[in-house]
């Protein structure tokens, strides 16, 4: 029983903790991002996993409720979803022209309190809605922090469009300056990141090209958003590339409960950099 609970907790951690905090990287990998085809039988398939190496399945499948936003802004459908030992797979049918968003986002509250002199962590699954119930009467030294995590990928049939980038105002979100499905080696790309709907200055941005297993150097780029939330990326390699943006931790804080009122958020996307 105890082992079982540990496993469930571990699975929850996989999606609930910002990507830089965990040892592993979470990712979704579409079979393609630039789609042509006017037939009725055009599909993109997606692998989703949590692993060390990008993009190889070697640790955990991604356990998440994935949703699809169609180019016209209406919700789409995830089909043929299956969870294997190391990866989750699902399909998305391409029936409209424009840019699709395939996404999952989680919001939660992390933190701790003291009860009878003993420090307790807030349970997994705590949200702003159930926070009051999660803290028992008599608790002191309550420290909480809201955490928003988002992982999304984009696929475009025909010309890139921007409807799916309408910000929700929650967590870290991407606003295209360069469209994420219009990336080519040799052309720098500029992306803007918002935190809770406002340009997010000074956020660390990590860029890692896929194919890690077959090279010695990670070729990781550590960038930072400017005052306007924008970051310009010079691609090192064509191919599927992982981008992670996370709110920085205050200096000296490693793990444990965040400082009161701290906002935590992380963002992950996989973009395809085309060969010229």
């Amino acid at each position: 029983m105890k082992l079982r609970n540990t496993l469930i907790a571990a699975a929850a951690i996989a999606i609930a903790i910002p990507a830089t905090v965990q040892a592993h990287r979470q990712w979704m990998l579409p079979s393609m991002t630039v789609v042509s085809g006017e037939g009725e039988d055009v599909w993109v398939t997606v692998d989703a996993a949590v692993s060390n190496d990008l993009f190889y399945f070697e640790h955990q499948p991604l356990r998440a409720d994935v949703s699809v936003l169609l180019p016209d802004g209406s919700p789409g459908e995830v089909k043929n979803k299956a969870q294997g030992r190391y990866r989750t797979t699902f399909d998305v049918q391409i029936s409209q022209r424009g840019t699709y968003k395939i996404c999952y986002a989680t919001d939660g509250v992390i933190g701790s309190y003291k009860l009878n002199g003993e420090e307790k962590r807030l349970p997994r699954g705590t949200t702003t809605a159930n926070l009051a119930q999660a803290i028992p009467a008599g608790a002191t030294d309550v420290r909480t922090s809201e955490s928003s995590n988002r992982n999304e990928i984009f696929v475009t049939a025909g010309e890139p469009s921007n409807t799916v980038f309408k910000p929700t105002g929650k967590g870290i979100e991407l606003v295209p300056v360069t469209h994420p499905n219009d990336l080519v080696m040799g052309e720098d790309a500029t992306l803007q990141f918002l935190l809770d709907g406002k340009p997010a200055a000074g956020l660390p941005v990590t860029v890692i090209p896929g194919g890690i297993r077959y090279r010695d150097q990670l070729r990781q780029q550590d960038l930072k958003t400017g005052a306007d939330g924008k970051v310009t990326i010079k691609w090192s390699d064509p191919g599927m590339t992982w981008i992670n943006v996370t709110t920085p931790r205050p200096a000296g804080e490693t793990e444990g409960p965040p400082a009161p009122g701290t906002r935590r958020a992380s963002y992950v996307t996989t973009v395809e950099v085309m060969a010229p």
């Binding site: 085809g37 475009t156 085309m274």
Partner: protein, 167 residues
Amino acid sequence: MQLRITGLTASAIGAGLFAPGLAHAQTLDISVTIPRLTVAEYHRPYVAIWLEQEGAAPKTLAVWYDDDMKANEGTKWLRDVRQWWRASGRAMKFPAAGVSGATKAPGTHKLSLKPQLGPGNYTLVVEAAREVGGRELVRLPFSLPKGGTTRAAGSSELGAVALTVKR
């Protein structure tokens, strides 16, 4: 581009031109050689031929693809002609009247087009992408109203490519 021409310049070059101004109907004679390849599995390449001019949207002149498959399935691989797809193809719908055609067998194929083009520097681009094969692109710069012949050649998926501009 053409709409910005003023009455002054139009009259300066002669009032006899048809609207909208400087565009001439010149003939572009294009010759594209698809090489014969000795490979175990051969499929005719998808080929796109288009015009680029700085400051103007690229214009597709011809696309040769599997245009006769059921349910338009041949359009699925148009994206593999990837520079053309980004430059022009992704904004188009297929089949495209006057532009799309069937894939061509190895050999030299000629087409003669009369696009309305103003004076300026252009590039004719020919790109070929072959199923289970490679991709290659050849660029032929030319200027209008100057006529003449430009030649280039690919080394893998395209053979000789030539353009003759006739006024």
